[in-house]
Structure formats: structure tokens, C-alpha cells
């Protein structure tokens, strides 16, 4: 069985180039010449944690608004121009970042960079557009409302983060979305959609010179703008002193979530926490499923996830159940399984499976230019180094049973724990 496998890959030392334009825009470039295509992504260092507390969902609005017309591109024309050359596009809002991406044949590098530079500063924030996007975002939010698990996670985040904006989800909230005026969005846009707050990532079958020229041509003239405020910097989550437990309004299915505060993405421990999440809840044969569904037969689902953020994040274990009296038992099972990791060493096979699955998932993602660019953008924004991900697969594979015990001992303690029980029987 493979323990620590050094990946003998050309990719282990790819030639990533980075530079900064005078206006502060960071550019990261990697030449990949397998197929004649290029992906152009802009990663903005803005996410739901930068939103005003009463205007949650502001960041998410842009994910859609950015396709709906700038001074020089009519609504939807950006997406159409990309689609018509066989390209594909994407956009996503998270807690710390918002990114925009398109992948096109390499001949259209300049067009893609031009379109991204244009919408960085020239978005036309019109009332009609805002209203239409608001409806769309509210519709997406209803997706959260319609899912007992997503709703429970939303509620749990509010309990676990008493002060930090990670207490709310990027999806947005109807009452805040209704409150948003075009002028609020314009202010948000002018604050965060600036070259000094973004990283342009280009990966594909293009040369560095072409990328430098296109970046300078289209982004160069943009104004740097003032340093954006970081509301989360003054909203650090206070250190928890004792266990928190709350029984909240009933849910259509019973849901229990146990969560522990964890360190930020910069910490080495996040790799161990992801391995732990896989051991506890990666799939059908993992520990929480075995315990809750198979052995104790107290619920129908068990899982776990490590939320890795720029600021300190959260590890949570979750169980779903039907029988009203099972709530406490599920909570106990979740806590016990997490705390057991601090006492008993994980078996070698179980650990190896978790490490392998994470590393394989990671490696598979590196096959596409989009996947490579996303790793670079994410690394650049979350830990300040677009090369950090290069060692991720090795870091997963290097996690030992001692690491698991140490990390479990450090974080899975009662004074760091929040438990939420949403009993079954609630309406939809």
C-alpha cells in the first residue's frame, strides 16, 4: 500500500508566472499546451463576508449581474460571444471570493481578457437589471429554503458564528435582497470590483508575451481605486468558552449538526481536517454512516465537512433522522465519533483510503485548464500564494494517524463545540 507517494509529474514544478500591473492587478499565468484552448478567469477578493450586515446577498447579485450588460456589451452578449466560439463560462460566489471564468479557443484570448476588463469597471447597474437579478437570486435562495439540510446548515452557521460574517451564507436572504437598491450595488461594485482587489488567471495554450500584452492593453488603463474595507477584520469570532447547544424550530426531517471552530486556510491543519472529514463522512462506507445508519439505526444519513476559509473556519458533522426521540442519540453519536479520533488511532487502511480519495479528487481536477486556473486563483486569494496548491496532493498523502489524533484533540473539545438539533415534524 502506498504511504507517501511523491508524484513524479511534470506538474509538480509547473512554470507559473506572476506579475502585478501598476494599478495593482495581480496576473498569474501558466502555459498548458495540450489542446489549443485558454481559460481566462478573474478572481475578485470579495465574497459574502464582505457584505454589509443588512445587505446579505450583495456579492451573489454580481455573479448574475456581470452577464447583464456593460457600457460596451449588451445584456447576455458576453455569454453569447463565448458560446458562439464553442466556449464555456462560469461564475461563482463564495464566502471569500467571487470568480468569473471563460474557456475559449486560444485565438480568442484577447477577446476574453477584453470582456473581463470591461465588466470590471463598466457594468451598467440599471434598476430593471437589478430587479430581474434579484428575482433570480431569490429563486436560488428558495432552493436553500426548500432543502431541510441546507436550511439547517444555514441556521447552524448563525449559531456557530456569533460575530463573524461567516454566520451567513453567500446565497443571500430575501429580506436583505428586497432592501438592496441599485445605489447599494453600485457602491459595492466601486469598492471591490477594482484591479487592486483582483487576480487575473490565464491558463492554456498561449504564450506569456501574449498574456502580458492583453492584460496590459485592457486592464492596464483601469484605475486602481482606494483600498477596499474589510468588515470581517473587525468582526473576528470571539473565542468560544463553553459548549453551546440549541434546539431550534422543527424541520421536515430531523437534523443534528455538531460543529467546531477550526483554523484558517493558511494553517497546515486544514489538510488533516479534510482527511478527517473524509474518514467520518466521505461516503457510504465511512464512519458516521456506519454508526448512525447501519449500527445504531437511529438516522438515515451521516456526514462531515471541513469548511476551509480565509479566516478561521468550521468543521461540522451532520446527521439526519426521522424518529422524534432520536435527536439526542444522533448528537451523541456525532460527538463521540469525532472525539474518538482523539483517543484511538485511525487504522492504516482507513487513513490511506481517505488520503487517496482526496488526492485523487484533487489530481483529477488538474486535467483541465479550468481546474488548474481555479486552484491558482483560490490559492492566491485564500493564502496569498498561487503556488500553494502544487503541494496539496502531497500534503493529503502525508497526513499520519498521529496528525489525526493531534488535530482531533486540539479542536474537537466541548468548549469549542456548537450543537444544533432541529427536531423532525416541521412543515416545509
Amino acid at each position: 500500500v502506498n504511504l507517501v507517494l511523491a508524484l513524479a509529474l511534470a506538474l509538480s514544478a509547473p512554470d507559473i508566472k506572476e506579475w502585478r500591473l501598476d494599478n495593482g492587478l495581480d496576473v498569474v499565468y501558466l502555459g498548458v499546451h495540450r489542446t489549443p484552448i485558454v481559460t481566462v478567469q478573474v478572481w475578485y477578493h470579495v465574497g459574502s463576508k464582505d457584505e454589509p450586515r443588512t445587505l446579505r446577498g450583495s456579492a451573489h447579485m454580481f455573479e448574475h449581474m456581470m452577464f447583464r450588460g456593460t457600457s460596451f456589451v449588451p445584456p447576455q452578449a458576453h455569454a453569447q460571444m463565448v458560446a458562439r466560439v464553442g466556449g464555456r463560462f462560469d461564475a461563482q460566489t463564495r464566502e471569500d471570493t467571487t470568480f468569473y471564468a471563460q474557456t475559449v479557443p486560444r485565438q480568442y484570448l484577447d477577446l476574453a481578457v477584453h470582456l473581463e476588463a470591461d465588466r470590471m469597471r463598466n457594468l451598467l447597474i440599471r434598476k430593471e437589471m437589478v430587479d430581474a437579478v434579484r428575482d433570480l437570486v431569490k429563486e436560488e435562495r428558495r432552493g436553500v429554503e426548500g432543502s431541510p439540510i441546507a436550511r439547517a446548515l444555514d441556521r447552524f452557521r448563525q449559531l456557530a458564528f456569533t460575530r463573524h460574517p461567516y454566520g451567513w451564507l453567500p446565497s443571500g436572504y430575501a429580506e436583505d435582497l428586497d432592501r438592496l437598491r441599485p445605489s447599494d450595488l453600485k457602491r459595492f461594485y466601486d469598492t471591490y470590483y477594482r484591479p487592486g482587489n483582483a487576480t487575473l488567471v490565464v491558463v492554456g495554450d498561449v504564450g506569456e508575451d501574449e498574456v502580458r500584452a492583453a492584460a496590459q492593453r485592457w486592464f492596464g488603463p483601469l484605475e486602481r481605486g482606494p483600498e477596499p474595507p474589510r468588515p470581517s477584520a473587525s468582526a473576528a469570532e470571539p473565542k468560544q468558552a463553553k459548549e453551546r447547544k440549541e434546539v431550534v424550530a422543527p424541520s421536515p426531517v430531523g437534523v443534528v449538526i455538531c460543529g467546531w471552530h477550526t483554523p484558517p486556510a493558511r494553517s497546515e491543519d486544514v489538510y488533516v481536517l479534510q482527511v478527517i472529514a473524509n474518514i467520518l463522512g466521505g461516503g457510504g462506507s465511512q464512519r458516521l454512516h456506519q454508526r448512525i445508519v447501519r449500527r445504531d439505526r437511529i438516522g438515515m444519513f451521516g456526514g462531515a465537512e471541513a469548511l476551509i476559509f480565509e479566516d478561521p473556519g468550521l468543521f461540522f458533522a451532520i446527521g439526519a433522522y426521522e424518529s422524534p426521540e432520536a435527536g439526542e442519540k444522533v448528537a451523541q453519536a456525532l460527538e463521540e465519533e469525532a472525539e474518538r479520533l482523539a483517543r484511538e488511532p485511525v487504522g492504516e487502511v482507513e487513513l490511506a483510503r481517505a488520503r487517496n480519495q482526496l488526492a485523487a479528487q484533487f489530481d483529477s481536477g488538474l486535467q483541465t485548464v479550468e481546474g488548474l486556473a481555479a486552484q491558482m486563483g483560490n490559492s492566491a486569494l485564500l493564502v496569498g500564494d498561487p503556488r500553494q496548491w502544487l503541494t496539496d496532493a502531497d500534503r493529503y498523502r502525508a497526513v499520519t494517524d498521529k496528525d489525526v489524533m493531534r488535530v482531533a484533540k486540539q479542536y474537537f473539545v466541548p468548549e469549542n463545540l456548537t450543537v444544533m438539533i432541529a427536531p423532525p415534524g416541521g412543515g416545509k
Binding site: 508524484l7 489542446t35 489549443p36 458562439r84 436553500v144 432543502s147 441546507a150 462506507s285 485523487a360 500553494q388
Partner: protein
């Protein structure tokens, strides 16, 4: 640092992501961008982009570049297996893709699911490993191994990180060469296939596709034979073993390996691993006559719950090897297969057209959806555009756009090891070679306008097409009748194949008279119409036995019925009580504390079940307009029964009643369900309140059976209060 990833598991439990991506694919909006009015932040009114010369416009389409595919190393293993290797060291993974020439085209008429069935069974066990062990091995290394059949081949694909290539080298040959087809897995796979078939028939768009295949290819071609539940249920382990033995031989297969591998080492390892594979020759693929289409052949499939009508249009296409293939592909892209196609511009709903890509001649087909009332108008637009394209072909600009779209799409979709392996396998199977993969974008770009026009003229036959419309038939029929179009109308639950459908009723006055007489006798024997009509409620309790594939459960049965439209069945199975209730328009199911509305299709089935309920079906022929036909004598287990077909006036329900010649009691009911036939058997009649009720009841369909043995039955004892109230 990896982004979070539990959410897949959560989705299985009903969860959704926290921050959903908006747009993932490049399908452009088919609706014209709405012109904004009075923008708040702009001095201009109306359309701020209209008439402007300074907007960003895309550059003219650029010359496509070839794919930088590394050299393909080819060798043949001692057993005759052809292998293609692309050693691509900058990919951190390996994909092995093996294709065997065993697909839907090879299936015998009565077993149209054999290729899918056998593919699903490959990973269910070998002499050396159980299915759990195979799954565990792949899960341990974070890889995947799956098999799937299509029209021409069975594909077995293994993907792992490069360091774990040994898992694929060991397991892929094993599952391909030595599957054991364990019996328990046969039942489980049958259930999965039946469930998939059921989903396919319930979805309007996929149902349209099923009917289009049947209508276009007809009964004389394997592609026209629909898959049915009976055929899935009829597949035995012996069929699977024989299928594998005949067709899964090295000479009938090709293997592509792409990723970070050393070809020499791989060759040695594959040689050892595939040594277990028995050599031999596969039988030649059977040829079928191509269908001859004359004019428009229209089939209207009545599915009254369709808010929108689904329209599918199809004709014969061309083979992948045909010299016209690229030109025809470009013409199709202009019509409805591209980023800015004509159909997408003309029709509001998502409309696409596709030219199939098979070694054999495939088909050309187009799909759209529209309001039931507009179905015929939409069909006219669709057919009109096909005719126009055929007549004048694409313009130079359209052709350039289509080239740019298809070439771009091709290279963007050719990134992963799996993408490359799949493309190589197809090129090899179709006899095109790896140069085809490398040069496809460039070759596409070289197609002259005249060729594209000629291809449109030759291969888009707008006059001779098969058309299927799935929708509210009454609304759609009005349009078809108004347009003077002839069509065949069928119910969505009826068999797809016209040959399997019961003959149209009414057909014969004598048979009506004979049938009605039989039903009158049966009704009198039952206890008479008056007594039956006086039944306000029924309460029956007893035992139930359910057989679901290889699983069997038994429990208690409790039925309360209040004719004509309310029925509540409670089954206590193990520790759980399952309650199914239909009360007029409402239908719900309750499992433990969970209450949910039945899916609309299930609810419709339940309401249909009320119509042909065995205790009251003998009143149906007294309903106005009901069609009755005596259907002769049928023998069941050595005994002859008089049979009568009864069909509701609106055609919505139909049942065949088998009557015992001595007692005149109902012995069997059959009716169409999910493209197959459901069978209900009745016995042990006992008299309660002057009416004879069967105490033994059995229903079967697919691999599922339900048996009920009544212990007690009460008539007009009153319905317990709240029986039909939906729990809060």
C-alpha cells in the same frame, strides 16, 4: 487548498450547495436580450446599446489549430486485443477505456435490454473478486471503474491517479474477461433497469425519443424495437453468460490508455492481465433493412399531464465514415446544433438538432417543446426551417460561425485523459484512425461552402420525416386536424410498438354484443348492479406479501374504499406503516411521520386503478360511451376463460377482463402500464352482504408482485372519521 466537497452526499439527502454556480455550460439563451427601459444610472433612455459603433464585437472567426495529441503507440496483445496508448506525462491520471463490439444493435428481438444488462453485470463479480471487493479496491485508490453499453459497443472505463494504475491494469481485464454474473445481482440489476425504464416513460421528452425510434426505424429494424419491462424481466443469467461468451472476445475489442504511463511497461502488464481472456471470433453483426420514409409520419402520444408538448422530429442521417459527414455536421450546426443556430433564434424553447455519430448509418433528429395549443404551429416552423436549409443551404457567415463553434467545442471538450481515450476509441471503432482526432478541427475548417450546401440538400430530407408529439392529445389533435395532417394517436402508457398495442376499438358490433352479454352475466353473478351501486364503503383487512425483485416482505393489509373516488391502503411492513391514499384529486403517501404528495404520474396510476378496481369494474360497461369487445377465449394454466376488453369512452383507461366460464367471476384483469402489461389475479370468492368478493388477490408487473389474502371484509360499516383526511 481544496474547496469543500461534502455536498454531493448532502444532495442525496435533499441538500443543496451554499453558493451555487450560475452558469456552467455554454448554451446561450435562445431568447433575444430584452431591451432595458429607462436605465436609472444612465442619461440615455431606451436601448443604451442601439446603433452604437463602439461596442465590443468578437473578432472574425479564427483558423482552428490541430490538437497537440502526443504520438499514439499501437500494439496488439498476444490474445489479439488492439491497444492504443497515449503517454501524456503532464496528466496526473490514467484512463483505460475498453470498447467491445457488443451493443444495442446486437440484441435479439425479445431481449432488447441485454447489452445494458450485461454491461451493468460486468462489475458485479469475478472468480477472484466479489462486487464489494471490486468497489472497495477502486474506492481505496480514489478511482472509478464502470461499464455502459450504447448502440454499437459496451464501454468499460477505469480511471485512477497515475500512481495507482495497477488497480486498473488488474481489475479492468478481470471484469471484461471473467465476469461471473452472480444470480442475486441479476435481480438487482433488473430492478435498476426497470426503474430506469419507468422514469424514461414518465418523462415527456424521453418518451418522445422512444416513440421516435420506433416510428422512424419501424418493426423491421432493431433500432425500432422498444425496450419493455417484459423484456427486462425475461433476461436470464444464461442469456447474459451466452451474450458475454459470444461477443466479449479480444478480437472484437479495442483498448485506449491515456495518461502518465510508460507504454513498454504497460504492454507487458496488460499482456499478463489479459492472458485470462478467451480468444475467439464474435458473430458478425446482423444487418437490417433501412426504413423507407414516405412523407410525414406523425404519432401523437397522449400524456394529459404535459404542461408543454414535446416535439421530436427524425430522419435518416449518415454514417460517421461517410465523406459527407463533416459537411453535414456543419449544416446541422447551422440548423440547430450550434452556438447561434437558426432554430434557437426562431423558437423560444430550447431547440436542438443532432446528427448521430455511429459507425452504422444513424439518424438526424431535432427536439423542442411548446404549449400544447401551439404544437402544430411550432412543428411547422421546425419543418419549414429544415426545408429552407435544404433548399438554399447555409450562408458563408453561418458556415464560418458553425466551424468556429464546432472546432472550439471540440478542443475544449478534449482535455482530460478520459476525453482523449473516448475520442480515440470512437475513431478506432469507426475505422478513422487517430489522425482524425488530431485534425478534426482543421478538417472541419476546410469544408467549402458548396459542400455544406450539397450536404444539406442531400441529407436533410424535410419531406420524409417521422414526427412525435407528446402532450395533451385533445389540444394537439385540434391543431393537427385543422392543418389536415393525418396522425396515429396513442396513450402514453400503451405499448410503444403498434404491434404490441390492442386493436383499435370499436371494431365489431357482434363482439360488442357478446362482450356486453358476458359482462351482464358476470355482474349478475357478482350480486347485481343495484347491490354493487349501494356499496358506500368497504373495509378489508388481511395479509400482504410484496416481492420486489429479490426482496420479499410480508405484513398487514388494511383497505378502506369509498367508491367511486376514494381509497386508502395501509400496509404495515416490518416496523413501518406505509399508507397510500387517493381522495378525489388529492393523492398522498405516508411513511412513518413523513407525508408527501404522490408524484403526479403515480397519482394518475392510482386513479386509473380506481377505474378498473376489481370489485367495481363490472359497472364500467354501464357508463355512457364505454366501448366493449368480446376478445375470445384465453387459456391460463390449462383453463379457458372468456375475455372482454373494456375501454373508457375517453380512451383514458382500458382493461381486459377474464371471466370464469363456470362461476362468471372475474379471474384476471390485465391493463397497460409503463409500456408493459400489468396482471391481476383473483380467487377464493366469498359472499358478503349479497356480493361476492375475492379473498385472494395477486398483482404482478415487471419483477414486482403483490399478494393479498383477506381475513375479513365489511360492507357499509361506515368509514372511520378522518380516514381520507390528509395528515398535517
Amino acid at each position: 487548498v481544496r474547496a469543500t466537497g461534502l455536498l454531493l452526499a448532502l444532495v442525496a439527502c435533499g441538500g443543496v450547495d451554499r453558493s451555487r454556480p450560475t452558469v456552467v455550460t455554454a448554451a446561450p439563451s435562445s431568447q433575444p436580450a430584452s431591451a432595458p427601459a429607462a436605465p436609472e444610472d444612465l442619461p440615455t433612455k431606451g436601448d443604451p446599446w442601439k446603433g452604437r459603433a463602439d461596442l465590443i464585437v468578437p473578432p472574425p472567426p479564427a483558423k482552428p489549430a490541430p490538437v497537440a495529441l502526443p504520438p499514439v503507440v499501437r500494439f496488439t496483445l498476444p490474445d489479439g486485443l488492439r491497444v492504443l496508448v497515449v503517454a501524456s506525462h503532464d496528466l496526473p491520471v490514467v484512463t483505460m477505456h475498453l470498447a467491445v463490439g457488443a451493443g444495442g444493435l446486437d440484441e435479439p428481438k425479445g431481449k432488447r435490454s441485454l447489452s445494458d444488462f450485461a454491461a451493468a453485470m460486468l462489475t458485479q463479480g469475478t472468480p477472484r473478486h466479489s462486487s464489494d471487493e471490486i468497489a472497495d479496491t477502486m474506492s481505496f485508490v480514489g478511482g472509478s471503474l464502470f461499464a455502459q453499453a450504447d448502440l454499437e459497443s459496451t464501454h468499460v472505463v477505469c480511471q485512477v491517479v497515475a500512481t495507482e494504475v495497477g488497480a486498473c491494469t488488474a481489475l479492468l481485464p478481470e471484469v471484461v474477461a471473467t465476469p461471473t454474473f452472480p444470480k442475486p445481482a441479476v435481480k438487482a440489476v433488473a430492478d435498476e433497469l426497470l426503474a430506469a425504464l419507468k422514469r424514461q416513460r414518465e418523462n415527456g421528452a424521453s418518451l418522445a425519443g422512444v416513440h421516435l425510434l420506433n416510428l422512424l426505424w419501424g418493426e423491421g429494424n432493431v433500432r425500432g424495437w422498444p425496450h419493455t419491462a417484459e423484456q427486462v424481466a425475461a433476461v436470464t443469467r444464461e442469456d447474459l453468460v451466452a451474450w458475454h461468451r459470444q461477443r466479449f472476445v479480444p478480437a472484437n475489442a479495442v483498448l485506449a490508455v491515456v495518461g502518465d504511463v510508460d507504454p513498454d511497461r504497460l504492454r507487458a502488464e496488460l499482456g499478463r492481465a489479459f492472458a485470462v481472456w478467451r480468444a475467439g471470433a464474435a458473430p458478425a453483426r446482423k444487418g437490417y433493412p433501412e426504413p423507407k420514409l414516405r412523407g410525414l409520419s406523425i404519432r401523437l402520444v397522449d400524456k394529459p399531464d404535459q404542461a408543454q408538448a414535446q416535439i421530436a422530429v427524425g430522419g435518416l442521417g449518415i454514417a460517421h465514415r461517410d465523406p459527407d459527414y463533416r459537411a453535414a455536421l456543419l449544416a446541422n450546426a447551422v440548423l440547430g446544433g450550434g452556438g447561434s443556430s437558426r432554430l434557437a433564434g426562431l423558437l423560444r424553447a430550447r431547440t436542438t438538432s443532432e446528427l448521430e455519430r455511429w459507425k452504422a448509418r444513424g439518424m438526424f433528429h431535432a427536439e423542442t417543446a411548446t404549449g400544447n395549443g401551439e404544437a402544430v404551429a411550432t412543428l411547422r416552423i421546425l419543418l419549414g426551417e429544415i426545408a429552407r436549409l435544404r433548399q438554399s443551404g447555409p450562408t458563408a457567415d453561418e458556415l464560418a460561425a458553425a466551424k468556429s463553434y464546432l472546432a472550439g467545442r471540440y478542443v475544449i471538450d478534449l482535455q482530460t485523459a478520459a476525453d482523449v481515450a473516448g475520442a480515440l476509441v470512437v475513431a478506432e471503432l469507426h475505422g478513422l484512425g487517430d489522425g482524425y482526432v488530431r485534425d478534426f478541427p482543421v478538417a472541419l475548417d476546410g469544408v467549402p461552402l458548396d459542400d455544406a450546401k450539397a450536404a444539406a440538400r442531400k441529407h436533410l430530407d424535410a419531406d420524409n420525416l417521422a414526427v412525435v408529439i407528446v402532450g395533451k392529445a385533445d389540444e394537439v389533435a385540434a391543431g393537427l386536424d385543422g392543418a389536415g395532417l393525418t396522425y396515429a394517436r396513442v396513450g402514453w402508457q400503451e405499448p410503444v410498438s403498434p404491434r404490441a398495442r390492442p386493436p383499435r376499438l370499436p371494431v365489431d358490433e357482434t363482439k360488442t354484443a357478446v362482450g356486453r352479454k358476458l359482462l351482464d352475466e358476470a355482474l349478475a353473478a357478482k350480486g347485481g348492479a343495484d347491490r354493487l351501486r349501494a356499496v358506500k364503503d368497504l373495509h378489508a383487512v388481511g395479509k400482504v406479501r410484496l416481492q420486489l425483485g429479490d426482496r420479499e416482505v410480508t405484513g398487514a393489509w388494511d383497505l378502506i374504499a369509498a367508491p367511486p373516488d376514494r381509497r386508502r391502503v395501509a400496509m404495515k411492513l416490518g416496523g413501518q406503516t406505509l399508507v397510500l391514499t387517493v381522495a378525489g384529486d388529492a393523492a398522498w403517501q405516508q411513511s412513518g411521520a413523513q407525508v408527501q404528495d404522490m408524484p403526479e404520474e403515480i397519482a394518475r396510476q392510482e386513479r386509473a386503478a380506481l377505474w378498473h378496481d376489481h370489485d367495481f369494474v363490472l359497472l364500467r360497461h354501464l357508463d355512457s360511451g364505454t366501448i366493449v369487445q368480446a376478445a375470445g377465449t384465453e387459456t391460463v394454466e390449462g383453463k379457458g376463460y372468456a375475455t372482454v376488453l373494456v375501454r373508457a369512452a375517453d380512451g383514458s383507461n382500458q382493461v381486459k377482463i377474464f371471466l370464469d366460464p363456470e362461476t362468471h367471476f372475474i379471474s384476471r384483469l390485465t391493463y397497460p402500464q409503463y409500456g408493459g402489461t400489468a396482471v391481476e389475479d383473483y380467487a377464493d370468492y366469498r359472499k358478503v352482504g349479497g356480493i361476492w368478493f375475492p379473498y385472494r388477490q395477486r398483482a404482478a408487473g415487471g419483477t414486482q408482485t403483490i399478494e393479498v389474502t383477506l381475513g375479513d371484509l365489511q360492507v357499509n360499516a361506515g368509514v372511520p372519521p378522518g380516514s381520507f383526511d390528509k395528515p398535517k
